[in-house]
Amino acid sequence: MQFTLDEDRALLQRSTRELLEKEGALETSRRVMEETPEGFSRSLHAQLGELGYLGVLLPEREGGLGAIAFAVVLHEMGRVALPGPFLEVALAVRLLAGCDGDAAKRWRAKTAAGEALVVIARSESLASADPAAVEATCRGGRLRGTKHFVPFGAQADALLIETREGIALVERAAAGWDATPLPTLDPAQRFAEIRLDGPPTLVAEGERAADLLAENERLGALGAAALLLGLMERSLETAVGYLQERQAFGAPIASFQALQHRAADCVLQTESTRSAVYRAAAAEEQGGADPALLAAVAKAWAGPAARLVCGEAIQLHGGVGFTWEYDPHLYLKRAKTLELFYGSTRSQLERVLRAKLAS
């Protein structure tokens, strides 16, 4: 048994942290989020493609790095609350790798290289982003339907759409689509409502499509949980730093037990998330335990945990924690959005319960 990262992945963690400190620092991200309509840095995205990050979930012989590396990278991205479609693209690349045909192959290569943006569109409800029966159809050479909360859907070059007939690839250049931006409380995430009526390419059908979507849910939950881990880890570090700096009643407020106990609870939440995320990643990569169950456990735990820790970070900062200038709100916003996507807490609890009742 071992809970530390091996040499390769420890190196990946260090180099990712260095890269993000340089290119994805929060100061830069704030500017990108506020000043560009896309909400993320195209140049950093291209760089992530060049460096092989976007293909992290590909099979090893095609440049993939495995589930533990996937968790390590997202954990680091969470620490800097990185805006942009990294998780979305890594999942789309993985899904494309399981699809048939030349179009899927072509888009996979371009997307993994960071030269094109492909994301997955599934949800058709404004009230839930959880997997559900879909209405979108792919008949007679036309795909018709409306998808909600498509991440970076207005910026994408192609979409992978869940339809009744299977997974369809739609290219913007060929089909076009109506995209209505759905700005949320999280400035790091750009959603769109997409109305489709154009020619698709079916890239996976039947059981194959169902398997790919199930895999997508599992890896999405793991990736989101790893992001949440990074968000809460950094939030706690920042809050603890503030407690030590800020003086009141003639002492650093870090010496007050009421605040210490709040911080200690955040440690419990954060460290437990660390155990859950890396346990799920190890099971995904090595087997030995049920990866679908453990990914659901990690996501079901990490959502509320991150909401608590990122919220406490605001509380521990006091008044300045409520200002736009200080960073804690960026973390709470990311955490709050992530909790509802990649399997909402509610849906993951149900998933875990079903698995447990069946065993």
Binding site: M1, A282, V297, Q348
Partner: protein, 391 residues
């Protein structure tokens, strides 16, 4: 990153599971309902179970071979405890002696002390209780005031200890007593004291469960022989703190295993009531399953840390808060969802047969207090993990 058990560890698990299957007459939750049992006869059931475990080589597995151990790893000990909790086996009456005193003797005691005390501790012929806490020294243990004063070569003990689990059945007590009033930590020494002697009075304390498993001990000039001082004078605090550290590891997987049992019983009960389709029930159950699985992940991480030869840092305080606070949530939820039937006395013919919910509900209130309350654990995290200053 690898949290899998090795094939040898899995073989060990199968061996333990088969042994328990062949040797455990009935789960503890059923044993306590057997007609004719009282508190004394239940202690004898526990003693007999301890003898069996000892004969099979499952006690003190991590100790050196000359003291009956097999140099087992923390993982194997954790697997043993996981299987024992899974099967709802009785707790051995000497668990405090075995988990705290024996390591103290092995690491800090004399050869004569080891020879005299360890074999009888193992076979259950002498039961030990722990004399650390006092009425005025619980979470703040170092403020203890029980004193040991020289009397010739030996010592006389005066003072009071409290919360001595299994005290009413104990033969011996290991005591932290003050030998220097002016030295907070260095003035504490570690003594082994026979209970059945003049100057020792053991009184049972009735708990909110109605049982009298704890005791309080009054020392009025009780004799502690020089040969029963463990380590040197003034080393008591150091010894106590190191042995409290040995509690770690073995318990890493036992609570999730115990919770699995409770959850299965809860699911069975709710199934019979036709309540499993209710959305509020499903959400609460799902949350309990998730949290228990997260706890198991934390436990596996503790074991991995120990296997890497490192002492667990924040993990043990987190583990303590997690399992004890979880137990309260689990029992609260069981009461809420199962309704009044879960409040029935276990001996009632209408009580659910698979878990003693009424008792467990009350018992769950203890875990967040003993062995360092949740508040003390938070202090430890704040101080040792976050390095926050104290006032």
């Amino acid at each position: 990153m690898d949290l899998r058990f090795t094939p040898e560890q899995e073989r060990f698990r199968s061996e333990v599971r088969a042994w328990i299957g062949a040797n455990l007459a009935r789960p503890w939750s059923q044993e306590v309902r057997e007609p004719g049992h009282d508190a004394d006869s239940l202690v004898e059931v526990r003693r007999a179970w301890q003898k069996k475990l000892h004969a099979a080589g499952y006690l003190g597995m991590g100790w050196p071979p000359e003291w009956g151990g097999r140099g087992a790893s923390a993982v194997e000990e954790a697997i043993l405890h996981e299987e024992l909790y899974r099967a709802d086996a009785p707790q051995v009456p000497n668990f405090l002696g075995l988990s705290l005193l024996a390591p103290a003797l092995i690491h800090h005691g004399s050869e004569a002390q080891r020879r005299r005390f360890i074999p009888k501790m193992l076979d259950g012929s002498e039961i030990w209780c722990q004399g650390f806490s006092e009425p005025g020294a619980g979470s703040d243990l170092a403020s203890l005031r029980t004193r040991a004063t020289p009397d010739g070569d030996d010592f006389r003990i005066h003072g009071q200890k409290v919360w001595t689990t299994f005290g009413p059945w104990a033969d011996w007590i290991f005591v932290l007593a003050r030998t220097d009033p002016d030295d907070r930590y260095g003035g504490i020494s570690f003594f082994l004291v026979p209970i059945h002697q003049p100057g020792v009075e053991m009184r049972g304390i009735r708990q909110i469960t109605g049982e009298t498993e704890f005791g309080e001990v009054f020392f009025d000039g009780a004799l502690a022989k020089r040969e029963h001082l463990v380590g040197q004078l003034g080393e008591g605090w150091k010894i106590a703190m190191t042995v409290l550290g040995y509690e770690r590891g073995a318990s890493a997987l036992q609570y999730p295993a115990e919770n699995d049992r409770f959850l299965a019983a809860l699911v069975a009960g709710l199934g019979e009531e036709g309540a499993l389709a209710r959305e509020d029930v499903r959400e609460k159950l799902g949350r309990l399953f998730v949290e228990n699985e997260v706890m198991r992940g934390n436990g596996l991480r503790v074991l991995a840390t120990l296997e890497a030869g490192q002492a667990p840092g924040p993990e043990s305080s987190i583990e303590k808060i997690f399992w004890s606070e979880y137990a309260k949530r689990l029992q609260d939820t069981a009461q809420e969802l199962l309704g009044p039937r879960a409040q029935l006395d276990a001996r009632s013919p209408r009580a659910r047969p698979d878990a003693d919910w009424a008792y467990q509900y009350l018992w769950s209130r203890a875990g967040t207090i003993y062995s360092g309350s949740s508040e003390v654990q938070r202090n430890i995290i704040a101080k040792r993990v976050l390095r926050l200053p104290t006032r």
